[in-house]
């Protein structure tokens, strides 16, 4: 499987097809037993999760994983972790580097929050946001890490129709800025709407890949989704 730079690729498949497992393998949550994963030509097999993140891969989670004990802004500020360097001492003693970096972090975080429309709620507790906003916040947080590749695990699940269309607008904008997006979802309309290419997984193996139209008419895909009698 290959994701081209600047592309939006969707990963679909029936329940238990291995989509989330694949995402976990990519981000280094699960160990890779065989095969190779490369990000920009560099193998990332055997690296731990935080190292992969530092190489430019950010993700969101199927069940939203916000830092509920922190404010909305602080959540996004954690996202800036991997491109900032200040140590415990410079933070404790408020050295000059701390202030300089903090300014950059806040500017970047506010920018990301504005983009997802949460800037006016930056001081609220992250846990108090409605569900749809929490998903948006998670995306803003992932974007704050300046990723090359953004993995979205079911970003549209649980969103209303209006929120979904806002999400597609946001994703389109992200792609124009040069971020590659790989997403997993069940909302076919949403996927066919925004993705350049779709890959279908079933029981751990790839059964089809191509443009949304090609995939929709692929007999294997129809079989996997509707059962054998359709073949």
């Amino acid at each position: 499987m290959q994701v081209m730079c600047g592309q939006t690729k969707a990963l679909i498949g029936p329940n238990g097809a291995g989509k989330s497992t694949l995402l976990n393998l990519l981000t280094g949550v699960l160990p890779v037993t065989s095969g190779d994963i490369r990000l920009g030509g560099k193998s990332i097999v055997g690296r731990s999760c935080y190292e992969v993140a530092a190489l430019g891969m950010a993700r969101t989670f199927q069940n939203v994983q916000l830092f509920e004990n922190m404010t909305v802004l602080e959540n996004v500020m954690v996202g800036c972790h991997c491109w900032t360097r200040q140590s415990l001492f410079s933070g404790a003693l408020r050295l000059w580097g701390h202030w300089r970096e903090e300014k950059k972090i806040i500017a970047e975080s506010m920018e990301q929050l504005e983009r997802v429309g949460l800037a006016d709620q930056s001081d609220n507790a992250a846990g108090s946001l409605p569900f749809g906003k929490q998903r948006m916040l998670e995306i803003a947080r992932a974007l704050a890490s300046r990723p090359r590749l953004l993995l979205l695990d079911e970003p549209a699940s649980g969103l209303s129709t209006r929120e979904t269309s806002e999400l597609s607008a946001l994703l389109r904008q992200i792609v124009t800025e040069g971020v590659t997006v790989l997403l997993v979802d069940h909302d076919m309309q949403f996927i066919m709407d925004i993705s350049d290419e779709v890959m279908v997984l079933d029981q751990g193996s790839k059964i089809a890949e191509g443009t949304p139209d090609q995939v929709q008419n692929d007999p294997h895909v129809i079989a996997a989704y509707l059962g054998m009698e359709a073949e």
Binding site: R59, F67, G91, A142, S145
Partner: protein
């Protein structure tokens, strides 16, 4: 689209508001400083004693709050770090270790330093680490048996560790470095201890510094292994560590004096006398001439407490502090954003242990006591620390201040309760030794009724009451 316009218009205001420290974030510190300077003028000696203990507890509670409240890692063995600081400081100032113990003791410490280097550089764990530790100990044993000089023992250690690294396929220069640190650390330690012994004790400041170094080293070794555990398992592991250290204080009589003798005659620190003249003048004026050793010690303890408060408040609002809180919020999410959770967990554990060690040194050098024994660092103390953090409020820097104060008053009250015989229907109730039950029930009650701690919990309740009252008045007006 409407939301977008609203947000862009609102954002400059928010940015402006967050640009720097405002008056309300500085005000508590200013009030604190004024109270700090003027307290001895208005308090009696008994209150001053209580204030000293509160100050020490504030440092302890702050350290534990960083670990528990912010980073979400529990420790039920924090009294061990407190005790290590106290004992190291006390031993170095009054009771230099006997000359016959010095070589073995320093070789052991050197090996511990070597283990720390091996662990931090090669990231080994499990049986490989165990083999590495064994290799270091065996090499050190060989060097002692053969009575080797420094140079030849460095050579033996380096080659030995390099061979070990080759067999286990670890980085060879990293392991060799661990060997060098083990010998060099042992030599430095032996030199230092012999010097201390000939002088009959070192200055308390050096004792405090060495205490922090060694406690930090031990916290690193323990933390790196134990912090992989979560929840109850972590609690059990730290509990076990606490017991091990407590037993060491009790049974290692040659060094610690055991539980019956303890260590006596620990010198105090004359803090103000050591300051430059203008500063000394300031303290003299503030205390209105009553600048006895007790007042000086009070100033010292609270200077440390203030510094710890300030640094902790800074840390939690910095990059690393946010990483600590992120670990608490969701470890997977933190990892996915590039936060090395393991590293930050160890960092906060070591920081917390270092603060506990400073508190321990301050406790040991307390004016007018000059005595420590193992009972002061037992399991109950660890529990009291947890209660302090919970009562003060998790994840709240100023809560530590409140929690430490509350526990100190409670402790005094329980002591008086222990001494008085309360009669009930003509029978003696014998309330002696009830303090564990009282502490336990307070912890349970606070957890159930005010899970955010007394300060936040009570302000929330009062706030809700005020809002409720307003609503009813509004309704009646309508």
């Amino acid at each position: 689209m409407a939301t977008k316009i609203a947000s862009t218009s609102a954002s400059p205001r928010i940015k402006h508001k967050r640009a720097g420290a405002n008056i309300f974030s500085i005000l508590p510190f200013v009030l604190f400083l004024i109270a700090y300077f003027l307290a001895p003028r208005f308090t009696q000696e008994k209150t001053l004693t209580a204030l000293i203990y509160i100050g020490i507890n504030v440092i302890l509670a702050l350290g534990l709050n960083l670990l528990m409240g912010y980073a979400g890692q529990i420790s039920l063995g924090h009294a061990a770090f407190f005790g290590l600081g106290a004992y190291i400081s006390a031993i170095l100032t009054v009771q230099p270790i006997g000359a016959e113990v010095v070589p073995g003791f320093s070789a052991g410490l050197g090996v511990i330093a070597g283990i720390a280097v091996l662990m931090s550089l090669t990231k080994v764990s499990g049986w490989k680490l165990a083999t590495g530790i064994a290799a270091l100990f065996i090499l050190s044993w060989i060097c002692r048996l053969a009575h080797l000089g420094q140079i030849s023992s460095i050579v033996i250690f380096t080659t030995g560790m390099a061979i070990f690294a080759f067999i286990l396929r670890l980085g060879w220069w990293k392991s060799a470095l661990a060997g060098i640190v083990a010998t060099a650390g042992g030599t430095v330690c032996a030199r230092f201890l012999m010097g201390v012994q000939t002088n009959g004790g070192t200055s308390p400041w050096i004792g405090m510094f060495v205490g922090v170094l060694i406690t930090g080293l031990i916290a690193y070794l323990i933390g790196a292994q134990v912090l992989r555990l979560k929840g109850h398992y972590l609690a059990m592991a730290t509990l076990g560590f606490g017991f091990i250290v407590e037993i060491m204080f009790e049974k290692w009589v040659a060094v610690t004096g055991g539980s019956s003798d303890g260590i006596c005659g620990i010198p105090s620190i004359m803090f103000v006398d050591g300051l430059p003249r203008p500063l000394r003048k300031l303290f003299e004026i503030a205390s209105a001439g009553h600048l006895g050793p007790k007042e000086q010690y009070y100033y010292l303890v609270w200077a440390f407490a203030f510094l710890a408060l300030l640094l902790a408040a800074n840390i939690v609002r910095s990059r690393v502090g946010r990483a600590f809180r992120a670990v608490h919020g969701s470890e997977v999410a933190a990892e996915s954003l590039g936060v090395n959770t393991e590293r930050y967990k160890i960092q906060v554990f070591v920081l917390s242990a270092a603060l506990a060690s400073i508190a321990g040194s301050l406790y040991a050098h307390n004016f007018g006591v000059g005595y420590i024994n193992p009972n002061e660092f037992n399991f109950m103390v660890s529990i009291q620390l947890v209660v302090m953090v919970v009562i003060g409020g998790m994840a709240s820097v100023w809560g530590a201040l409140f929690g430490a104060t509350a526990i100190q008053f409670l402790k005094n009250w329980i002591l008086t309760l222990d001494k008085t015989n309360i009669q009930f229907h003509g029978h003696d109730l014998a309330l002696k030794g009830l303090s564990p039950i009282i502490f336990g029930s307070i912890l349970v009650l606070v957890m159930i009724l005010l899970p955010q701690g007394l300060v936040r919990g009570l302000t929330d309740i009062i706030g809700a009451a005020i809002r409720g009252a307003r609503r009813t008045t509004k309704r009646s007006v309508e």
